[in-house]
Amino acid sequence: MTTPHSPLPLVFDSIPIARNASVPFSLEVPERRTVAVLGDEDSGIGMLGGYALGLERPATGHALVFGTEVAGLAEPERLAFRRRVGYLPAGDGLLQNLSLRDNVALPLRFGSGAAPRDIEGRVTVMLTALRLTGAAQLRPAQANEEERRRAALARAIAFDPALLILEQPFDGLTARVASELLEIARGGESAEGARRTIFITGQEIPPLILRRVDQVYRLTRAGMLELETV
């Protein structure tokens, strides 16, 4: 389903996400903004990324990405559409039988149609940008948490997406590393804001990061969304 009147990168419209929530979840994420929604583990925020990408379908309501309900697309179109969105799932979601380098290259190999040499060149650039060159040949189980998160972020931005969805991206990282990763995720700055729209979900965000987030919302147990003052 495509809604031409909804050009926003990400819209959640009346989605019930928590069992005991009194109101459904609704939120609009403006273009080039970094928006974070924080909440307890049982608040249901962990499902938002899946709803946005059409990995799960909400019982009612809609999740629209660039005006499109991804879950409503046919399978090949749904897979192709997801390449427009970067996604860093909770727990990184790296493939354990591949090296970090192959993990980063995988979406490009299957989805870009580019020549293998071009793909390898782009992967090398991304690994360098994420400071992963030394750990590139390690398997996820051999790498530390910071390296795994860097690799997962590199994979999420492989297609240089306009929208990036990050689930618990900074858990277990120092504030300095978290800040560095957020800057890479934003993809640089312009007069209108960051080059990418970023949607972050998690339980907490380091105070150093909060300064770089445009809007921070906290989801209460009752499902109410409260805007926090940054």
């Binding site: 990324g49 899946g50 990408l53 990995l55 399978e75 090949p76 897979l79 192709a80 559409f81 997801r82 390449r83 996604y87 799932p89 727990g91 979601g93 790296l94 493939l95 354990q96 995988l106 979406p107 490009l108 190999r109 299957f110 989805g111 870009s112 149609g113 580019a114 020549a115 293998p116 793909i119 994979r155 492989a158």
Partner: protein
């Protein structure tokens, strides 16, 4: 399940050149594990089975002067029926459980979800290479099984006083084009079952690691039942 298998084949048509190379690499490693590493076991089983059957048969048939039936026995019982069946069962036991457990682990670890979120069809990356790998492996192992069976039969026949040239003459006279084609079709059918059924059960797991052994067990049972039913269907149709 059939739709799942055809979905994997259809996914192959959407592969990019680089994606094809990755899938091929995974398929080759699957052939190494499923096929190459099972050659010894299949050869051993085939050799022992054939030696025992032909030894017993030679002794009995010689007594009534009907040694030419050894050829029928080798071709019908071993090459056409038991060969494909035992080969498929060995591959299901060794690799079917491994495929189901591996894909179930991928599912539990969130790797399948991660693939989908990146716009990669899990059927392209996970199912298709295992399907192709199983197909190639079962076919190759079946050739090994039949060759070893015929050679072990030869050894058994010699051991029981039947001349070597006479043995090959009897076997070749009993072997028809139809037997060869039946074996090829069985290899393709059983290879498909070995590739698709465990993949299907592996990917039906949701989030709990306790589901992994259950999926592996169900996959093997379903694949064995499928292979026997398919074998019966071949007997009825052929």
């Amino acid at each position: 399940m059939a739709r799942f298998g055809f979905g994997a084949l259809r996914a192959a048509t959407r592969l990019t050149a680089a994606g094809r190379a990755v899938s091929l690499r995974v398929a080759v490693s699957q052939v190494r594990f499923t096929g190459l590493n099972a050659v010894g076991l299949v050869a051993l089983l085939s050799g022992i089975l054939s030696f025992l059957v032909i030894s017993q048969a030679t002794r009995e048939l010689k007594g009534i002067g009907a040694t030419e039936f050894i050829g029928t026995l080798i071709v019908v019982a071993i090459v056409r029926e038991l060969g494909p069946l035992l080969t498929a069962l060995v591959v299901v036991g060794r690799s079917g459980t491994a495929i189901a457990a591996e894909l179930a682990t991928n599912q539990v670890m969130g790797e399948v979800r991660a693939l989908e979120s990146m716009g990669i069809d899990p059927k392209q990356y996970l199912v298709l290479p295992r399907f192709i790998g199983s197909l190639v492996s079962v076919f190759a192992l079946l050739v090994v099984f039949d060759l070893v069976a015929i050679m072990a039969g030869f050894a058994a026949a010699r051991f029981n006083g039947l001349a070597g040239p006479r043995y090959f003459q009897i076997v070749l006279a009993s072997l028809s084009n139809r037997d060869v084609w039946l074996t090829v079709f069985k290899a393709l059918a059983f290879g498909s079952i070995v590739g698709v059924v465990p993949s299907y059960f592996g990917l039906t797991v949701r989030r709990a690691s306790t589901e992994i052994p259950i999926a592996a067990s169900r996959a093997v049972v379903a694949a064995i039942v499928g292979i026997f039913l398919c074998s019966a269907l071949f007997v009825v149709l052929a």
